[in-house]
């Protein structure tokens, strides 16, 4: 019973790494993918107002959240790693706060961007405040 169990464990560990390598290649969305994904946000999101817009404390909180949740893919300065999108691009910066919040909540699962709906809405708005502070 034990030996087959640990053979299975080794096989699964290999599978994890193999699948991981494949997902690593595909996980990061390219700029075009992000543009298309943001464009899918419903029209009503364009009028959504960020309750934390321009608040220094919220921007600092957003920076902390970015370091905890986003920097591993987008890099510590949000310039992108590999194919992970550079968040300083005008395409991202020109999106409305509402579109960005919608995109954070929904993610782009098929292209590797996770959904951040597990973060409370307030924290997503703080992240948006930080992203908008790049301008």
């Amino acid at each position: 019973m034990i030996r087959p169990s640990f053979a299975a464990l080794l096989l699964l560990a290999l599978a994890f790494v193999t699948v991981g390598s494949a997902s690593e290649r595909e996980r990061e969305t390219d700029d075009r993918g992000v543009l298309l994904a943001i464009a899918r946000a419903p029209l009503k999101t364009r009028s959504w107002h960020n309750p934390y817009a321009g608040q220094p404390d919220a921007i600092l909180a957003g920076k902390k959240l970015f370091a905890q949740h986003c920097a591993e893919c987008h890099g510590p300065h949000a310039r992108g790693i590999g194919r992970a999108v550079n968040l300083h691009l005008s395409a991202v910066q020109n999106a409305t706060p509402g579109e960005l919040e919608w995109f954070l909540r929904n993610g782009n699962l098929w292209r590797g961007m996770p959904s951040w709906s597990g973060l409370p809405e307030q924290r997503r708005w703080q992240l948006v405040a930080y992203l908008k502070s790049f301008r």
Binding site: M1, I2, S5, F6, A8, L9, L12, F16, V17, V19, G20, S21, S23, E24, E26, R27, D57, A58, L60, A61, G62, K63, K64, L65, A67, Q68, H69, A71, E72, C73, R105, N106, G107, N108, L109, W110, R111, G112, M113, P114, S115, W116, S117, G118, L119, P120, E121, Q122, R123, Q126
Partner: protein, 309 residues
């Protein structure tokens, strides 16, 4: 610790205080090492032990989780059943997880009880009011398994009174499926799971359920890095139990539990969870205590590949 426990599976031995102390010290060492790690990483997790939400592991990340449950038996011979989880985000819509289970029963023995491999898939690519997740798991365990990761059918606390030497002879190959429904609303997560489990050798389908709700103590983040901020704590509760079998779909004669849950997420990527559970009828354990320590490794696959460059 792993080797020690594997050894237990081959030569089941009496659970001794010295061995339990060594295991605890090992866990403490791991914990201190994790706390001291200068990292900034936090997963978006719910604090439940039994209930699943629609939040999957971030792609490429590996979470290692050490869990344990202490169960009180009506007729004595309480037990501790630890298990280790390796949770990997294969895709943003697919999380795969591997479990290794052990148990130690007082006045009996300690032994390895098997493994599980689960997969969770999000069929819908966008957020909705209710988000479904499909769950499929294969279990290769023995009847001595006491981790109680789910409660199904007519699971009864008296089943756990069977001596380990006898229970470990009963090998179980099971397929477990779940329909996970989960919603986020104003900082709350509300999740409902419907469980259907089948022993592949015999027996009818067994059913169970789990329902949970949780919320962070503070919704907005503070600008400071802190371990004890309210935003790092999640509180909630879960209720779970059996629903009989395909031959007799009922709550009568099943075991039922209610358990508050608390999670403490540190900025270093370590999460602690604890949950005292209470049996709601005479078929249930009167009291169970679950706890866990987890650590998330970001970009795991990338790190592994870089070792071979």
């Amino acid at each position: 610790m792993l080797l020690l426990a594997v050894g237990d599976s081959v030569h089941a031995s009496t659970l001794q205080p010295a061995r339990a102390l060594r295991i605890c010290l090992g866990l403490l060492y791991l914990l201190c090492a994790a706390l001291a790690a200068p990292r900034e990483l936090a997963a978006q997790e719910t604090p439940y032990f039994v209930t699943y939400s629609h939040h999957l592991e971030e792609p490429g990340n590996l979470e290692i989780e050490l869990n344990s449950v202490y169960g009180v038996q009506h007729a004595g011979n309480d037990y501790i059943a630890p298990w280790v989880e390796f949770e990997y985000g294969a895709k943003a819509w697919w999380t795969t997880e591997f479990y290794l289970d052990w148990q130690g029963t007082f006045n009996d023995s300690a032994l390895f009880t098997g493994f599980r491999w689960e997969n969770r898939f999000r069929p819908l690519m966008r957020e909705h009011w209710i988000n479904p997740v499909l769950y499929v798991e294969y279990e290769n365990t023995t009847a001595a398994d006491k981790t109680m990761i789910e409660v199904v059918g007519f699971d009864n606390q008296a089943d756990y009174a069977v001596p380990n030497s006898q229970a470990q002879m009963d090998h179980q190959h099971e397929l477990e499926t779940k329909l996970i429904l989960s919603s986020d609303y104003k900082g709350w997560n509300i999740s409902e799971n419907f469980i259907a489990e089948k022993n592949l050798g015999h027996d009818p389908w067994e059913f169970g359920y789990a329902v949970g709700a949780s919320r962070p103590l503070r919704l907005a983040a503070t600008s400071d890095y802190c371990n004890f901020c309210r935003e790092n704590f999640l509180l909630g509760g879960e209720v779970y139990g059996g629903l009989g079998t395909s031959w007799n779909f009922t709550r009568t004669g099943t075991s039922q539990y209610a358990a508050p849950v608390v999670a403490w997420q540190l900025p270093s990527g370590v999460t602690f969870r604890v949950s005292p559970g209470f049996g709601l009828n005479s078929n249930s354990h009167p009291f169970i205590l679950r706890w866990s320590v987890s650590y998330e490794i970001d970009r795991f696959a990338h790190r592994v590949r870089s070792l071979f460059r």
